[in-house]
């Protein structure tokens, strides 16, 4: 990682024409990734993007790195193999809410549990885009879609809660339409050792336009979204005077200067706290919704444990060869 060229984002754009719908947030996220990569100090040939199937999963084709556009739902499992085979690589998983949470739900939670050192970007548009508009496991109860003409009867997952229930060490949620926030987030995720799980709230202009407007439009964002940062107070609002406070086991919104509330009452975000309870509560907040790195707790990664054990055995097995293996134990000569 020493003599890495100075790249620009263009170095990471492949020669393939990008084929998303005009106005899709996917363009923003793609560009944010391409802008983040020159900052992470990895050689282009050491970076791998692995996706499943979905609109979002076309992503690897647009990156001038190594990449696999695999099959629906299996990206995390493919990526686990790539990382174990070569732990020196920077591995990125690109996936959608259907890909990662419907068909691929199991691989997602297992990758999180194992803490494979890779970055998983979940393009959550709360809909199946590529297949033209069926509800997904993050679609809202009652939502009308092509497969729920009378309203969805399946209550959704909350990706953050699910991830923390599966022992996520790093969980972040972020708007899909803020290029700079996104780039900064991707850099943080890459720098985190272990699995970084990033839920991007990605607007699908065709099948679920405005899904996040209630907290992510120009008008709603200030008062309905709090962007948390480690070590900083959880303050938000048009006038920067709202904040989150702990009241027993509940998080509540208070206004600084009202009812005797001062800035001191506002929680300071500790993304590094090993106990996930508060992070779990933050992922569950609905108004304001919480974005930013909610949890980032370093732990040994799976590949580290795996390779560590291998290195130990290699050390213990010095001098062992294939020939010594087949001659070990009981042999006899005729």
């Amino acid at each position: 990682m020493t003599d890495v060229k100075k790249y620009t984002f263009k170095d990471f754009a492949s020669d393939q024409e990008v084929r998303w719908c005009p106005g899709c947030d996917d363009y923003v996220i793609l560009r944010a990734v391409q802008k983040a990569l020159p900052e992470i100090g990895r050689k282009k040939e050491d970076v791998v993007f692995i996706s499943g199937i979905g609109c979002s999963s076309r992503f690897p084709y647009y990156m001038n790195t190594y990449g696999v556009h695999s099959i629906h739902g299996r990206a995390a499992a493919v990526a686990t193999g790539t990382k174990l085979a070569n732990p020196d690589l920077s591995v990125w998983v690109i996936t959608g809410d259907g890909d990662a949470l419907a068909i691929g739900g199991n691989h997602t939670i297992h990758a999180i549990r194992r803490n494979v050192d890779m970055n998983v970007i979940l393009f959550n548009n709360e809909i199946y885009g590529l297949t033209k508009g069926q509800f997904s496991p993050t679609s809202l109860l009652g939502q009308k879609t092509k497969t729920s003409p009378f309203g969805n009867t399946q209550p959704p997952f909350n990706p953050g809660e699910l991830a923390i229930g599966a022992h996520a060490r790093f969980f972040a949620r972020i708007s899909g339409n803020k290029p700079k926030e996104l780039s900064a987030m991707f850099i943080q995720a890459e720098q985190f050792k272990g699995l970084s799980f990033i839920e991007v709230l990605q607007n699908c202009v065709i099948f679920n336009d405005g899904a996040f407007d209630k907290f992510n439009s120009k008008e709603t964002r200030p008062d309905n979204q709090v962007y948390v940062e480690h070590g900083k107070k959880m303050i938000f609002g048009h006038d920067n005077n709202k904040g989150l406070r702990l009241n027993g086991l509940k998080l509540e919104v208070v206004t600084i200067g009202e009812n005797g509330v001062t800035e001191d009452d506002i929680l300071v975000h500790d993304a590094h706290e090993p106990d996930p309870t508060l992070h779990f509560m933050l992922t569950r907040m609905e108004n304001p919704i919480v974005t930013g790195v909610i949890r980032a707790v370093e732990d040994m990664s799976f590949d580290e444990r795996f390779v560590g054990q291998m290195e130990e055995r290699i050390a213990a097995g010095k001098g062992v060869t294939f020939d010594s293996l087949v001659e070990s134990g009981e042999t006899y000569t005729l």
Binding site: Q16, Y66, V68, V320, T321
Partner: protein, 622 residues
């Protein structure tokens, strides 16, 4: 025949077939293995066949809890654990009940009288005690109070009853060693290694073994002892190897030869798990064994590891192969080198997990959407698993395609002597790794094999993307043009077809032309070989063509087939390879012989069927 107990006669045998049968907890697998190993050390050829229930520890004394282990030891080259038992060991009534039908009158039957209690008799469904009701008269019965004799021998060791009982199988083995003139040394050494930390267990087992040995010597019921002379096996260093272990080692060897690291992505399933169990032991060879959350993650991680440049494999059995189908399609279209091992078991569905069968062939050939040919090869004996695991790896890496290796429960769990191979003596494996980024695309191909050049992460200048959508024939970029698709479909098929230029010709054993060509594939080889040898030996114009390569088939297949008047395709399924032959090589006079009982062929039934087909006037398929 003298009844004088110190003056027993001894006779020489070409081979001996013994089946050890008892409760799952009676240690029959171990007992049988010891007898086999000792015999191998004494120079015999051996072949074994464990046959156990799917319950972990079935209730004691129950019929379905009976575990069996059959072994043939011989003074000539043998290929099966034998059709006909020379001796049946039945450790309890249930074992007797389930196994006696396989013992011919006049043959030896060894039982533990202590186990024939009213309770056990009832569990086995005996109304009267067979030891007393005369029903065992046709057999040469050796009834010994093994449990109590063992206890007597161990009394002063201060063990509890349960622990003492655990040694009774060694008492039995001691008796058998005496009958067949086997040395006890190997087994005693085995105790010393295995129970290094439990001296009392070494002592108990050794005493039991010796006590049994002495008991047999003194027993007046045993009139004759037997000798099986060493076989004329090729000179060299041997070990006993089980099929699954051989498979695992074949991959380790292939990785070394290819200068690659070995990655295994797998999910446990009977009877394939032992390959995983073996490979997890060997991180020292940089073998990366990943136990995934399911079969799909197993094969998906294998694809990921292959993409990263490892020799990547995944191991499973039938139901797991079904789950892997979609991903194998991805590996196929992305032309990723990898091996999928399918250790077949009885199907359909969960079926008969601990029994053997060959009924996944069609699934291996066709269990994926779209036109999706891959290489399919099969191993035919426990030690041959080594060769075919190696060969499958070589083909995958040299031809850049998934390879499915078929084995089955019978050879996977069976064991035989293996003339140890040295790494240096194995064939080379030449990976086709990209060198010059100039003008390179992921679909740059070798002119002859059509294998694409391999480049993987870490290689500068070769950055590229692969995926499951149809791709441009030159660049590998996504492409949906009609003619490009047709060209790619043909190209992928042609690449697999051309493998025929790189594999050995089909060999024929026995008659090289004539009346009947016996055709088989996979784990039935031992039985087919023996049966054809016998038929040929008595002058019948019968040959055997056993296929190790199923897709593509050897180049000379058509030539071989046409040299015989009739062809009989013998399989442990309802006729799958038969169908493939009909489609790939139409126009021959095919017959088939199928057995779907979860059991291997017997030599006798094969020979009967050969005669029947030779005699048949027209095509009559059974």
């Amino acid at each position: 025949m003298s009844n004088n107990f110190s003056q027993k006669s001894s006779s020489e045998l070409d081979s001996v077939v013994i089946r050890f049968a008892g409760d799952s907890g009676d240690g029959m697998q171990l007992t049988g293995t010891q007898f086999a190993d000792t015999s191998a050390l004494m120079g015999n050829d051996i072949a074994t066949f464990p046959n156990y229930p799917s319950e972990i520890r079935a209730p004691q004394g129950s019929l379905f809890g009976v575990s069996g282990f059959q072994v043939q030891v011989a003074s000539q080259d043998i290929s099966t654990p034998g059709d006909d038992l020379d001796m049946l060991v039945a450790m309890n009534p249930a074992a007797l009940k389930t196994n006696l039908p396989d013992l011919a009158p006049g043959k030896m039957l060894l039982v533990d009288t202590d186990a024939f209690t009213p309770k056990n008799l009832k569990k086995a469904g005996y109304e009267t005690n067979p030891l007393e009701d005369g029903s065992l008269e046709p057999y040469r019965l050796i009834a010994a109070p093994m449990t109590s004799s063992t206890k007597a021998a161990l009394l002063d060791l201060g063990m509890d009853t349960k622990s003492m009982d655990r040694s009774k199988n060694m008492f039995t083995l001691g008796m058998i060693y005496w009958i067949y003139g086997r040395s006890m040394d190997h087994t005693i050494e085995f105790f010393q290694k295995k129970f290094k930390k439990k001296p009392i267990v070494i002592e108990a087992n050794t005493r039991a073994l010796k006590a049994g040995n002495v008991y047999a010597e003194n027993l007046e019921l045993i009139a004759t002892t037997y000798q099986v002379r060493p076989a004329q096996l090729k000179k060299g260093k041997y070990r006993i190897i089980m099929g699954n272990q051989a498979t695992a080692w074949g991959f380790i060897a292939a990785a070394k030869k290819a200068n690659k690291e070995l990655f295994l992505g797998s999910y446990p399933i009977t009877p394939a798990s032992d390959i995983l169990h073996e490979l997890v032991k060997h991180p020292e060879f940089r073998v990366k064994s990943f136990q995934a959350e399911d079969e799909i993650a197993g094969v998906a991680s294998t694809i990921g590891a292959s993409f990263a440049g490892d020799l990547a494999i995944t191991t499973t059995s039938g139901p797991g192969l079904a789950l892997k189908g979609e991903a194998i399609g991805l590996a196929m279209i992305t032309e990723m080198p990898m091996v999928i091992v399918n250790v077949q078991r009885g199907g359909p569905s969960t079926g008969m997990p601990t029994k053997t069968e060959q009924s996944d062939l069609m699934q291996a050939m066709y269990g994926r959407n779209g036109e999706s040919p891959v290489i399919v090869v099969a191993a035919h004996s426990p030690s041959h698993c080594f060769d075919m695991a190696f060969e499958a790896s070589k083909l995958a890496l040299e031809h850049m395609t998934p390879v499915i290796l078929m084995t089955d429960g019978y050879i996977a769990n069976g064991s035989e002597p293996w003339l140890i191979k040295k790494l240096a003596d194995l064939p080379t494996i030449t990976t086709n790794i990209a060198k010059n980024p100039e003008g390179w695309t992921p679909y740059t191909r070798d002119k002859d094999s059509l294998a694409r050049e391999w480049a993987y992460p870490g290689m500068e200048g070769f950055e590229h993307r692969v995926g499951g959508l149809e791709k441009n024939v030159q660049t590998g970029n996504v492409n949906m043009q009609p003619m490009n698709h047709e060209e790619m479909v043909k190209l992928r098929a042609e690449k697999v077809k051309r493998v025929e230029n790189y594999i050995p010709d089909l060999e024929v054993e026995g008659a090289q032309e004539g009346d009947l060509l016996v055709v088989g594939w996979g784990g039935t080889y031992g039985a087919l070989h023996t049966a054809v040898q016998s038929a040929f030996g008595v002058g019948k114009k019968v040959g055997l063509a056993h296929f190790n390569y199923i897709n593509p088939m050897p180049k000379n297949t058509a030539e071989v087939l046409k040299k015989f008047k009739k062809i009989v395709v013998c399989e442990l399924n309802a006729g799958q390879f038969y169908k493939i032959l009909l489609a790939e090589h139409p126009g021959h006079n095919y017959f088939k012989y199928n057995k779907v009982q979860g059991l291997p062929f017997t030599i006798q039934e094969l020979m009967n069927r050969f005669d029947q087909v030779i005699a048949a006037e027209k095509v009559v398929n059974v």
